[in-house]
Symmetry: C2
Subunit: 88 residues, 2 copies
Amino acid sequence: MKYAVEVGTVSLETEPGVLTMNAVADKENPCDITILETYAIREAYESHIASEHFQKYKQGTLHMVDSLRLDDVTPLNPNNILTNIIRK
Amino acid sequence: MKYAVEVGTVSLETEPGVLTMNAVADKENPCDITILETYAIREAYESHIASEHFQKYKQGTLHMVDSLRLDDVTPLNPNNILTNIIRK
């Protein structure tokens, strides 16, 4: 949880191409985490996974992750706009 | 898709207690839809599902929905704030 919160914060605050990075835990099974990630362009995603903060998260949590599913998705309504910030 | 886009738009624009209503379709299986819904308080959810626009969506799509899962979730980081609007 600590790693995930940190990587989300650093990514949103330092990577302009990271538009959303919002994580939720299932109430019935709190180890089941879903993260909504939105990138301005594909290159923003590639530079994100190459970043030092992402690699710290990835390597630091590798032994805790039993399964991982990456679902590539399309917004249903392109006019439905999410803005994501870290509150100070 | 049309019903889902409509109910999202009307809910965000007319229900102050609806904070996010953001739908995405899986690219590999576009019939697999995920909606991130956030409500200010539980009563906002209850008034949402009782609303005329939600009931139009619900009744209009009932015969198309093969399976539905409602996952109650908790934000990992309470300072990670999503804002959701419909762009004009």
